[in-house]
């Protein structure tokens, strides 16, 4: 059975990832897997700038570097085991019955991509060990992960509380249509109030599609509030989210290429950077 994959690290975001994972596991009634991946730290520890190499220099250097790697890996393994144990007992206490823990070596994204085939939802923190506790700084992995993964991803803010409402920005494009289908076809957002929002654009039959989407959501059992907004997409959406105190955001990801993003900027990225609520990126 497909499970929920929650990614933990040493940072303070892990608590929020655990909470979100437990909530999602209950909503979906799905097995839960906690993953801790150990990325190799490549920076050297101390510097010997003497620049002299003598007999057996290479084997000596090899031993030094290997010993350092070993120490670091051992520490990381230990820390990871502790984090996983805490998460595991927390989930058990919360009543999740099928909880697994995994520990993997290697690049975080590569690890996730190999594991995603058995996952129905991936949960990661908005930031992690590398970025510190600055809300506006997006974790180094998030964008790359979102561009490569094919599984829905839930990105948690520093503090997670169980959401009561969610917002879907609907523009009639393929990615939002997919988001709509996903919302209707599974239980993750069941029981939450829905804010269906659209920004006026040049799409010809937008109004008609918007009405249809509203109808489909209502038929699916959601309490739907609809809203037309005008102007800069990311700014309007963020304003609306704040005034309505919406708990969660659902969106498709990166309809533009990296090149387009470089010149024009990406709405996905703006939302990711500035939103302080859980974001569900649908794939």
């Amino acid at each position: 059975m497909q499970h929920i994959l929650a990614c933990l690290d040493e940072s303070t975001w892990s608590t929020s990832v655990q909470d979100a994972a437990i909530w999602a596991a209950r909503q979906l009634n799905s097995p839960l897997t906690f993953l801790h991946s150990i990325e190799k730290q490549t920076q050297p520890d101390s510097q010997d700038l003497s620049g002299a190499i003598g007999l057996g220099a290479r084997s000596k250097l090899m031993t030094e570097i290997a010993t350092l790697d070993q120490l670091r890996a051992k520490a990381a393994l230990q820390i990871g085991k502790e984090i996983l144990a805490i998460a595991d007992s927390k989930a058990q206490e919360a009543g999740c019955t099928q909880v697994e823990t995994l520990q993997r070596h290697g690049e975080f994204i590569d690890t996730l991509l190999t594991l995603e085939s058995s996952a129905r939802l991936v949960i990661i923190g908005h930031s992690g060990t590398q970025t510190g506790k600055k809300i506006s700084v997006l974790g180094t992995h998030v964008e790359n992960l979102l561009r490569q993964i094919h599984t829905p991803v839930l990105i948690t803010p520093h503090d997670f509380s169980v959401p009561k409402s969610f917002m879907l920005a609907y523009d009639g494009r393929e990615t939002t249509e997919l988001a709509l289908q996903r919302i209707l076809s599974n239980d993750l957002l069941r029981g939450l109030d829905c804010h269906l929002v659209t920004i006026k654009n040049k799409q010809p039959d937008l109004e008609e599609q918007f009405a249809q989407a509203t109808e489909r959501l209502t038929a699916g059992g959601f309490a739907v509030t609809t809203r037309y907004l005008e102007g800069d997409i990311a700014k309007q959406l963020l304003d609306y989210q704040q005034t309505q105190a919406i708990d969660m955001l659902v969106m498709g990801a990166f309809s533009g290429s990296r090149l387009r993003q470089f010149f024009i900027g990406s709405n996905t990225l703006k939302m990711l950077e500035n939103c302080n609520i859980p974001i569900l990126v649908v794939k």
Partner: protein, 496 residues
């Protein structure tokens, strides 16, 4: 794109900057020394080192590896420079680059899998010995002052790092050069200095197209040199990459490195530099000093140029003895000490391969020939070993029963003769049965050896039947398309 920038360039800025500086300081004496070996002005080697290091930082396939003008390459150019001059060397450098790029596109980097560990060790040791021998002209027919200076230089290089704190924060080769230069100037010693060896760079490098006639004759002159340079350059670069891979436990992109070396050499040739490649000693110094990313290689080249152009008046004063001391250090550090220590532990065949590689290089001054000899020898030893994995058993119940042979193991060119000899033709029988179900036929030699045995028994009046030929000869096909299927390999190599 951005992720790569972060991961390959800027993950270790402090370490890379400092390591780059240390490497640049050690590169200066090397570049000068190798220019002298090749018979050109020091500026040719210095420009080359700058260009190659800076370009390879962007296009190379192994972050953290240092490439510049090298001794292995310099040794191959000697006769070209002597007979035809610098312009032809620059043309040959360009052609070397083109050949290396072609090698990258043809994915020849994968051929490194045929170069065994002992060949690599032999190559490295031969290189160390060559670098040392290249210093000997500076140490023959000179006054005792030079010996004293060189010995003092080596003393400083190896003892200075032992001083607490300061020893690990200042590059000892730099201390050696500064102290020896100061002593030589103070005492007014009449010994050779870098300034006596030829022109040093006084400006930034400028674009130069080699002044050679673009004729077939020119190509005939430079092609053999370019081929040798391209091969040696790629061999040393890929071997160094393997060493860095092992040290840092990361992977390099070999074919990208081949193309990168080509581009770097073309760049060097256009800016008046000689061909170069990766350097084992410098790369080890870089890793030891904390360099890991592309930034370290870039800084090494950049700082080298800055120092050389702005300090050229001072560099002229450096006594050659100081450079010799640094080069002897590089040679000692390059030498694989464990290979000598472990000679007794390793099998004889491995040692023979290693020593042969060293010997051929020392005899020819061409590292490519040494590697070729080593690879051939290693392959022969291997074939010989596998050839022993074959037995033929025979049984005959009584005179009227068929003579039953069972072949087990690997039959190929090296074991075909043993195969034929294992049949006992003095045994008389009406019927001979050869059971091949547990044998593997690898090539046509095996098939023809079997044919001969069959014909021989037929001539002796026996009726021969062969069992299991189909299974045994499955390995004959060149591409058995099993790359990703462990089960298929298992089935092929099982006893059917």
């Amino acid at each position: 794109m951005f992720k790569n920038m972060q991961n390959e360039w800027f993950f270790n800025i402090r370490g890379d900057l400092l390591a780059g500086l240390v490497v640049a300081l050690a590169l200066i004496p090397e570049a000068i020394a190798f220019s002298i070996i090749a018979g050109v002005d020091p500026k040719v080697g210095l420009y080359a080192s700058f260009c190659i290091a800076v370009i390879i930082a962007f296009v190379g396939g192994r972050p953290g590896m240092i490439s510049a003008a090298t001794g292995a390459m310099a040794l191959l150019m000697v006769t070209l420079v002597k007979q035809h001059g610098l312009e032809y060397l620059l043309a040959a450098t360009l052609l070397t680059g083109v050949l290396q790029i072609a090698a990258g596109y043809l994915k020849l980097g994968g051929l490194m899998r045929f170069v065994s560990k002992s060949v690599v060790t032999g190559f490295v040791n031969a290189l160390a010995i060559l670098i040392f021998m290249a210093q000997l002209p500076e140490l023959t027919n000179v006054t005792w002052h030079v010996y004293a200076m060189t010995a003092a230089g080596l003393g400083i290089i190896y003892l200075f790092p032992l001083i607490p704190k300061i020893g690990k924060s200042l590059p000892s080769p730099l201390v050696c050069i500064v102290v020896l230069t100061a002593v030589a100037l103070y005492l007014g010693m009449d010994i050779r200095t870098v300034g006596d060896m030829g022109e040093l760079p006084d400006t930034l490098p400028i674009f130069l197209w080699p002044e050679v006639p673009l004729t077939l004759e020119t190509l005939q002159i430079i092609l053999p040199y370019a081929v040798a340079l391209a091969i040696v350059g790629l061999l040393e670069s890929l071997m160094t990459a393997t060493i860095i891979d092992e040290l840092t436990d990361t992977k390099s992109n070999r074919n990208r490195e081949c193309k990168g070396q080509g581009i770097a050499n073309i760049g060097a040739g256009m800016l008046g530099g000689m061909a170069g490649c990766a350097m084992i000693g410098q790369s080890v110094i870089n890793i030891k000093s904390g360099g890991r990313g592309r930034l370290s290689t870039f800084c090494a080249g950049f700082f080298l140029l800055i120092m050389v152009v702005f300090l050229s008046d001072w560099i002229k004063q450096i006594p050659m003895a100081a450079l010799v001391a640094v080069m002897i250090m590089v040679s000692i550090g390059t030498f694989s000490w464990s290979s000598v220590r472990d000679l007794k532990k390793h099998p004889l065949s491995t040692n023979i391969v290693m020593v042969t590689t060293v010997a051929v290089v020392l005899a020819t001054h061409n590292l490519a020939l040494g590697v070729l000899a080593g690879v051939l020898l290693a392959t022969l030893f291997f074939a010989n070993k596998i050839a022993r994995l074959m037995v033929i058993k025979h049984a005959q119940a009584d005179v009227h029963a068929p003579l039953h042979y069972q072949v087990i193991g690997q039959v190929f060119f090296a074991s075909a003769e043993k195969f034929a000899e294992s049949f006992d033709f003095s045994l008389a029988a009406d019927k001979v049965l050869i059971d091949l179900t547990r044998a593997h036929f690898w090539d046509i030699s095996a098939v023809s050896a079997l044919d001969n045995v069959v014909i021989k028994y037929q001539r002796l009046g026996a009726k021969v039947s062969v069992v299991g030929m189909n299974e045994a000869s499955k390995t004959l096909i060149d591409k058995f398309a099993l790359h990703n299927d462990p089960k298929a390999v298992e089935k092929l190599l099982s006893d059917h």
